[in-house]
Amino acid sequence: MGGKVTCTLGEVKQRADFIIYWGGNPAECHPRHFTKYTLMQKSKFLPKGRKDRTMVLVDIRETKSVKASDIFLQVRPGKDFELITILRALVKEQHVTDAQIAETGITREVLDDLVARMKAAKFGCMFFGMGLSMTRGKHMNSAALLTLAAEMNAFTKFVAMPMRGHGNVTGADVIMRWQTGFPFGISFNRGYPRYNPGEFSTVDVLVRGDCDAAFIIGADPGGTMPQPAIDHLKRIPTIVLDPHITHTSKLARVHITTAAQGIAAPGTAYRMDEIPMPLKPALKSPYPSDEEVVRRINEAIAKKPFWIPEGSMPQMLTEQV
């Protein structure tokens, strides 16, 4: 069970007559999402545009996005997983007790109506934001929502997609997957990629003091991470590449100023639906691009002695202890 049923944003633009935003505030965080991709667009299948579509917003608080919605469901904080599970049950006409429903802060009538609308849709799409994927039980929440979308396909066409933010974080995810098999949280310390989010993810590594140098690019952990993590960055040699002097630059041993991507540096960035977009920089920066600097660092490293003895052969992981 599980998996991920998704599409590109153009499919939503063309076909989605039923759209759910769960745990996000697109009006303020992805301001053109409604107009460019989802609600406002007309298409040959939805000639009346906004009038042909229904939008449901699920969130723990009222945000500016409520105004754009047809139906707003205010879920109790921390009850997303329960609500998704109840929806999965209701979709399959399984019994759910009143007490279980009451816990979520939403009434049975509202949920019955929602399920009826979901099933009546020709093409449903669920977008889930940080509010869902970054709170208690984050991975469970997204997995449950993806499963709900997959299961809806027994009744009608349904897809789901994460609302990714943070610049080109999708690109990092996509590239790490093709080069290493994993999207993040990777260690190469045995000479090949291994994945263990709890163990190899940055906050855990820094808090435990498990790394003895840090190379930071396109992020400012010095301004966002918990204090013990920042303290460790101060202790070890930290190197920062950024167009600005950041919080992290101030505690770093080395800072190199680089050109901002898409403004003064060319290249590619991935959209949240994993479509690569070419960048068209307008300005000529006095600074080199990230790409150039990291490549030159790699060249400098390549001139130094290598840490694995020559002649190491491919191995089967199952043979390892």
């Binding site: 999402h33 943070h166 999207p183 040699p237 960035a269 490293i301």
Partner: protein
């Protein structure tokens, strides 16, 4: 900002279908009006995108590089970075949100060659 200063000079250059990387929408229909030093207008961009485009300039606002807080050349900083990373037993390469795929690929190559850790914002 100082849009008025540019008015007296040559007309602005226009770039069609530029791409905004500020959020995951990655809108690629932005029309940028610029004078090579700064972008004065980002047509079709939202408030966030406009701020993103207008706040970055081609001015030399910061030193090219800093080593231990002192100004340094890029060459020196690259050498020092290579030395520090190579000396480390377990270097961490982290971030990669606000950068290009081309740079991200170089970062993955770096972690691979150093036998280090590689992680993005997603793990947060």
């Amino acid at each position: 900002m100082s849009a008025t200063a540019a008015k007296t000079e040559t007309p602005l250059q226009v770039i069609d279908n530029a791409t905004c990387t500020f959020c995951g929408c990655v809108c690629d229909d932005i029309q940028l009006h610029h004078d090579e030093m700064r972008i004065h207008k980002a047509k079709k961009a939202c408030v966030l995108g406009t701020a993103w485009f207008l706040n970055h300039t081609a001015e030399k606002k910061y030193p090219a590089a800093l080593i231990d807080g002192k100004e340094a050349t890029v060459d020196e900083a690259i050498e020092e970075t290579a030395r520090l990373l190579h000396e480390a037993d377990m270097p961490l390469i982290y971030g990669m949100s606000n950068t290009t795929c081309e740079a991200q690929k170089e970062c993955a190559a770096m972690a691979d060659s150093l036998g280090g850790l590689l992680d993005s914002h997603t793990s947060l």
